[in-house]
Amino acid sequence: MTGGHRRILVVEDDPETAGQIVESLSISGYQVDLATSGHEALNRGVASDYAVITMDRLLPDIDGIGVMRQLREVGVAAPVLIISALGEVDDRVRGLRAGGDDYLVKPFSFVELLARVEALGRRSDTIVKETVLRVGDLAIDLVSRTASRCGKDIALFPREFQLLEYLVRNEGRVVSRAMLLQHVWDLHFDPSTNIIDVYVGRVRRKVDGQQAYPLIHTVRGIGYCLRAPS
C-alpha cells in the first residue's frame, strides 16, 4: 500500500469524539488528519490524497453531505464514511446517494468504525479482476457461484455463498454484523437478535467442518473475520 492509502481524514466537530476516533485509527496504523469544520474539511480534502474520509453529518458550518458533494464536484474520489446521529434510514440513504460509500450511526463502537474504514480503504485499492478467489485451501468461483476446500465442493445456498464471498473479499479484515446485514441482506436496521450469528454459524459448519484448520473466526463483540493461518 502506498502512503496515501494509509492516510485518513477525520471530519468531526466534537473534540472528545474526534480525539477518540483519531486515537483508535492511529493505533491501527493510519496516518490521521483532523478537520473540525466543513471548510477545513474542504481545504484538507482537496489538498491531500486520502484513502478514506470519515465525515460527521452535522457540522457547525456546512452540512456533512454538502461537504461531500463539493469534494466530489472538484474530483476528490476518496470514499466517505458518513457518521450520523440522525437515526433515520432515509438520511443514511441520502448520504450514500450524495456520493459517500458507507454510513455509521452514532453511537458506534470503534471496532465497527475500524472495520468500515478498512473495507472502504480496500475499495480504493485496485479492484480484483479474477473470477476465482482463494484463501488458504478455500476457493470460491464467482462465475459458477460455487465454493470448495481442497478441491472438495461445499454445498451452499445462494445467500450463504453471498455471505462467504463478502467474507472472502474482506479477507483478513473484521466484518461487523451490521456490515453483513447491509451488504449480504441489504437490510438497514438491527434486528436485535442473534440471527446473524446463527446464520454465520451454519455457513461456518459447512465451510470449516472437518477441515484441517478453521477459516471463519469470531471477533468478540463485533463480528467475524475470514483468514487463513499464517
Binding site: 453471498q162 451488504h183 434486528p191 440471527i195
Partner: protein
C-alpha cells in the same frame, strides 16, 4: 343562571327568528284567505243583484212605475225573495214600494253600487245587517235600490279576524314556550358536557358525560366524546406504562453498570477482571442503546413520513428472504420454517419495514413456538386483499391477552426471562398502521397465528423488482431520484 343562559343561547335566538318568520307567514295566509273569501262572497251577491235589478228595470221600462210597484209587491210576497231587499221612491224620497221601510239616508248617489248599514229599515230584524246594493235613478226622478244582505260575509270577516288574532297569539305563546323548553334542554345538555370537560381539566380523565338513554343526537355526541375520552385515557395510560417501563428497563442495566464501575473504581486494577467488567458494561450499554433505537424507530414509523418512500413490493419475495434469514435459527431450535405462496402478492409499502415486521413475527414464532415445532409463513390473496400470516404450533397465548401483546414493553409472564424487550410487536403494529394494514390474532389450535391484512394494491404502478444484495457493497441502495431537501 340556567334561565340567563337559556335567554342568551344561540338556540333561543334562532327560535325567536323562527317564531317571527312563522307568525308572519301565518298572518299572510289568513289575510289571503280573508281577501279571497270576501271577494268571492261579494261577486256572488253582485251577480244575484244584477240579475234581479235587470228584470226590475225591464219591467219599469215596459210597464211604467205602477207595473214595477205591482211586481215588487208580488216579489216580496214570494218566500224565495227573502234575501233580496228592494225599495222604489219618487223624487221626494216618498216610499212607493219594496221591503225596506224607507230610502237609506246614507245612500245619496244617483246610480252605481254601494254598501251600507240598513238601520231600522228592514222588516223583522233587530240587528244592523250589512247590505250591498245597486241604485238607479230613472228619468222621471224615481229611484230604485236593489240589494242583498251580506251579513254572512260580515260575520265571516269577524270570525277570520278573531281567528287570525287568537291564532297568531296562540302560536307565539306556544312557540315561545316550546323554544324556551328546547333551548333549556339544549343548554342543559351542553352544560353537562361543559361541566364534565371542566371536571376533566381540573382533575382526571375518569369523568364521563352522563347519557340520558334517549339514543338521540345528544346521546351520540356524548357517546363519541366518551369514546374519545376512553381513547385518550388508554393512550395516557400507555404513555405512563411506557415511561414506567423505560424507567425500569433502563434502570436495571444502568444500575448494574454503575455498580461495576464503582467497584472497579475502589479496587485495585486487575487486568483480566477489569476487562470482563468493561466488556459486560459495554454489553449492557449496547442493550440500552438498542432499546433506544427500537423506541425511536417505532416513533419514526408512527410519524407516517415514511409513506413517501413506498414502492410496490412482493410479500412472497420478502417472506422468502425472511424465512431464508431465519432458516438457520429455526434449524438450531429444531423447528421447521417454511413459506407458502408461489405467485407474487403485491402491496405498496416500505420493504425494510415490512421485512422487519415479518422478521419480528417469525422470530417470535420460533422463540415462543414449540421446540421442534412448525412455523409457516403464508403470503396470499384473501378476498382480493394481500395477506401475510405467520403461524406456529406452540402453546399460543390466552385469548384475553390478544389486545395486550402489541403494547410497548408488554411481555407475557412465561416469556419474562427469554431475550427481548417487548418492543417487537409494537413495531409490527406501527408498521401495520403505517401501511393501513389490519392485524388479526388467531388461535391456530394449537399455537398462534398472526395475520396482516394489507390494502389491495393498485396495479397501475409499475412493479419494481426488490433490491438484491450487493456482494461488494459498491452501490448504494437504489432510491428514486428525490431532492434531499
Amino acid at each position: 343562571m340556567l334561565l340567563a343562559k337559556t335567554l342568551t343561547s344561540s338556540t333561543f335566538k334562532l327560535s325567536l327568528i323562527a317564531i317571527g318568520t312563522f307568525g308572519m307567514i301565518v298572518t299572510a295566509i289568513f289575510s289571503y284567505v280573508y281577501q279571497s273569501t270576501s271577494s268571492y262572497v261579494r261577486s256572488q251577491s253582485d251577480r244575484a243583484i244584477i240579475t234581479e235589478y235587470s228584470s226590475l228595470q225591464g219591467v219599469y221600462e215596459h210597464k211604467g212605475r205602477d207595473g214595477l210597484v205591482a211586481l215588487i209587491q208580488q216579489r216580496i210576497a214570494d218566500k224565495g225573495f227573502a234575501n233580496t231587499l228592494v225599495i222604489l221612491v219618487d223624487t221626494s224620497s216618498t216610499y212607493l214600494g219594496g221591503n225596506l221601510k224607507a230610502w237609506p239616508p246614507t245612500v245619496t248617489l244617483a246610480s252605481g253600487s254601494t254598501e251600507f248599514r240598513a238601520l231600522e229599515l228592514l222588516p223583522n230584524t233587530t240587528h244592523h245587517p250589512l247590505l250591498r246594493a245597486m241604485v238607479e235613478t230613472f228619468p222621471n226622478g224615481d229611484r230604485l235600490l236593489v240589494g242583498r244582505d251580506i251579513s254572512d260575509l260580515d260575520n265571516f270577516t269577524d270570525q277570520i279576524k278573531i281567528a287570525v288574532i287568537s291564532g297568531v297569539a296562540l302560536i307565539f305563546v306556544l312557540a315561545a314556550v316550546v323554544s324556551i323548553l328546547v333551548t333549556r334542554r339544549t343548554v342543559g345538555r351542553i352544560e353537562s358536557i361543559n361541566a364534565t370537560s371542566r371536571a376533566i381539566m381540573l382533575s382526571d380523565l375518569n369523568e364521563r358525560i352522563p347519557l340520558r338513554g334517549t339514543n338521540d343526537e345528544w346521546d351520540r355526541v356524548a357517546e363519541n366524546l366518551n369514546l374519545m375520552l376512553d381513547r385518550i385515557e388508554t393512550l395516557m395510560g400507555e404513555i405512563k406504562q411506557v415511561s414506567d417501563n423505560v424507567a425500569h428497563d433502563l434502570r436495571t442495566p444502568l444500575t448494574r453498570m454503575r455498580g461495576r464501575l464503582e467497584r472497579a473504581y475502589h479496587s485495585q486494577r486487575v487486568g483480566e477482571e477489569d476487562q470482563s467488567l468493561i466488556g459486560d458494561t459495554i454489553a449492557d450499554l449496547d442493550s440500552v442503546l438498542r432499546m433506544f433505537s427500537s423506541l425511536t424507530r417505532i416513533s419514526q414509523v408512527e410519524t407516517e413520513a415514511r409513506r413517501v418512500g413506498f414502492r410496490t413490493v412482493d410479500l412472497v419475495e420478502i417472506a422468502d428472504e425472511v424465512v431464508e434469514l431465519y432458516d438457520a435459527a429455526a434449524e438450531q431450535d429444531g423447528a421447521l420454517l417454511s413459506v407458502v405462496g408461489s405467485r407474487e402478492v403485491l402491496v405498496s409499502g416500505d420493504r425494510d419495514l415490512i421485512f422487519d415486521a415479518i422478521a419480528n413475527l417469525v422470530d417470535n414464532a420460533i422463540k415462543h413456538g414449540r421446540a421442534g415445532g412448525q412455523v409457516v409463513v403464508t403470503a396470499e390473496y384473501i378476498d382480493g386483499g394481500p395477506v401475510i400470516s405467520i403461524a406456529d404450533n406452540g402453546p399460543g397465548i390466552p385469548v384475553n391477552q390478544y389486545a395486550n401483546i402489541f403494547k410497548r414493553f408488554y411481555r407475557l409472564e412465561h416469556s419474562r426471562f427469554t431475550p427481548g424487550n417487548g418492543l417487537g410487536l409494537s413495531l409490527v403494529a406501527a408498521v401495520a398502521h403505517l401501511h393501513g394494514a389490519r392485524i388479526e390474532v388467531l388461535d391456530n389450535s394449537p399455537g398462534l397465528k398472526l395475520r396482516l391484512w394489507f390494502q389491495a394494491h393498485r396495479r397501475s404502478s409499475r412493479l419494481r423488482p426488490s433490491r438484491l444484495a450487493h456482494p461488494e457493497g459498491q452501490d448504494g441502495p437504489d432510491t428514486p431520484d428525490q431532492d434531499p431537501k
